[in-house]
Assembly symmetry: C2
Homo-oligomer: 372 residues x 2
């Protein structure tokens, strides 16, 4: 089935909205944070650990799976769900972001993007049709349109040409999309330019998709600019479709995104910083390598319900991290994933009670208290 | 409490014995395989995953914990059990093996061993007293005497002097051992020399320990020599004390050790080879990197009850391993640990029914069938 977004309520003081998303694997509440399983695995974690974090949709990357192990193999395995044994909804991106960020494109043409594999340098060519073909084979629940993701900043002139091409790519992708149980989302681009975000949003909606994403953030712009990019996009998106801010997963950014009307978020940050010894807490990000945690035999957060906090202490996790023991990164990945999911659970409650702005102010005050 | 070994029955066709070991954390059946948690963590796994493998005693390394995070810190945490949250018995080695294998001793004196830290080259001095002091602080359930572990081969003359010094070190260790809830084991050395193994065994027993280990195996000798070393040791050990063959964990070696009267085994092999993509199976060791597993969507072993086999396929694990995704090594570590523990469960049944030799022959035939 195609995903169906049901708006339950809006915060009367901002654009924040609470709803549900019906998927092939049940109905989930939004706003939602989606953990990232780049290569068909949320690094170090099992699906059971994700369920224990109360995960809903998870993400996987088309570019990486396209190169290795290849979509044909995953198709033979019965699709991505069976391959990785995740019994919940999966969203795949289009590969566009990785082509532009990781592989460095050799040449962007109307047809598609020529680039070199980041694995072995072999020449590759990704088109809207190929991206959709790969995602159809992966059999994710939500596929993304193939877009150009320009760096920040580019000129208004460049960005205008880029969004026009991205619109043509979106139409081409929609035309070849053929998986009846898979939804297809469109992507709003346009950088920091209000007129281009508006144009991109309205034209993308005109093509018609099952949900809409905001792309082109987290590409080097400052926070205020990112928030403006969101403002310029969400206000032109329909109320009855789900909205997804791509690649954003800092706690404050999730809150600010929600306030601007976003429903879905994803980011590798929570697990990447975990592997480097960092944990999100209500009192700001902490690095477990810090000597002050050496004799701290309390959990990362006293009131956290994650597996790591229920079973292990900061002192022990610090020992694991400083001794290069991978269980450390694994436990911190669990904590950070649960932290962001718990955050969205609280956000939903705040929206229901029209106190999202108040929630933000209190969260930020506590989060930065130690930095003052 | 001190561990108490209860002999239940012996296989009438060999020296294999089945018994129970009473510990601070309950009573466990032997023969038993003990997973190794070098730095207070069985690499990549949680205690819950070990329980799910039906683990009993696990091992931890005094040398590594002495250097990092230090026994005083673990003592402050409430001991090793609380520090790593393992709710079962823990055995710590003496540090001797690591000093000789990893750190390369600078100078062996009557007093102890001068050597350099493998971490930062700093000068260290480990004595029998210090080893016991550290293990007392770690508060493991079973501590090992500090011994010299000579390489293979050394001359009879060298080995004789070595076992005499090791006997003096064992006495010194016993004298300072002061943790009433911790057992202390003696170690039989003597290389491949029957007279020296006999002397070492009898003299160690004369000092009197709560259990006895066979050391000096897996130091470069061939299999037949290793089995002889075991033969030369176990026959001089008392029936009413548990016997532990140190550092041996190849499936065939466990079986051959059991046949020669050994009760306890440990080895890093099962988890180390896992991280390199290898899995134990009844049909021999397999490497999941092998192309033939690419489209194999069956578990590592159809009839295995481990978490990895219950949830994932060879094709998926191969993808994880070839993509450097650590979940692969984690899943294989679970499988290999469960494999060896399951092996000892079967061994106990075979002993009860006096068919240990038959069990060995059948196991070996199947294990090597693919190599013929």
């Amino acid at each position: 089935m195609k995903v169906k977004y049901n708006l339950i309520c809006k915060d009367k003081n901002c654009m924040a909205r609470h709803g549900t998303l019906e998927t092939n694997y049940g109905t989930y509440e939004t706003p939602m944070f989606m953990p990232v399983g780049t290569k068909a695995t949320v690094k170090l974690l099992t699906p059971d650990e994700l369920y224990d974090c109360n995960s809903g949709i998870i993400l996987s990357n088309t570019y990486h799976l396209w190169l290795r192990p290849g979509p044909e193999l995953i198709d033979k395995a019965g699709g991505l769900h069976k391959f990785m044994n995740y019994k919940g909804p999966i969203l795949t991106d289009s590969g566009g972001f990785q082509v532009f960020s990781l592989a460095k494109p050799k040449d962007i043409t109307e047809e598609g993007v020529h680039f070199k594999s980041h694995l072995d340098g072999s020449k590759l060519f990704l088109t809207p049709e190929e991206s959709i073909r790969v995602q159809n084979l992966l059999d994710s629940d939500i596929a993304m349109s193939f877009d150009e993701c320009p760096p920040f900043p580019v000129t208004h002139e460049y960005m205008e040409k880029s969004i026009e091409r991205t619109l043509r790519w979106a139409e081409r992708g929609k035309k070849v999309h053929s998986n009846p149980r898979q939804s297809l989302f469109g992507i709003v681009q346009g950088g920091e330019f209000e007129d281009l975000r508006k144009k991109s949003a309205l034209e993308t909606v005109k093509i018609g998709f099952d949900g809409y994403s905001i792309g082109g953030t987290s590409v080097g712009e400052d926070k205020e600019t990112m928030y403006k990019m969101i403002d310029y996009s969400t206000k032109y998106l329909p109320e009855d479709k789900v909205r997804y801010l791509m690649g954003v997963g800092d706690p404050i950014d999730i809150i600010e995104g929600v306030i601007r009307g976003v429903d879905l978020f994803d980011c590798v940050l929570s697990t990447r910083i975990a592997r480097h010894g960092n944990a999100f807490t209500r009192n700001g990000k902490i690095n477990l390598r810090n000597l002050k945690f050496r004799e701290d035999f309390t959990p990362i957060e006293e009131d956290c319900d994650c597996y790591a906090c229920r079973n292990f202490t900061k002192g022990y996790i610090r020992h694991l991290i400083t001794s290069d023991e991978l269980l450390g990164g694994r436990l911190l990945s669990i904590h950070n994933t649960r932290f962001l999911i718990k955050l969205t659970e609280e956000i939903r409650e705040a929206i229901k009670e029209n106190r999202m702005l108040e929630y933000r102010d209190k969260f930020i005050e506590k989060y930065y208290a130690n930095k003052k």
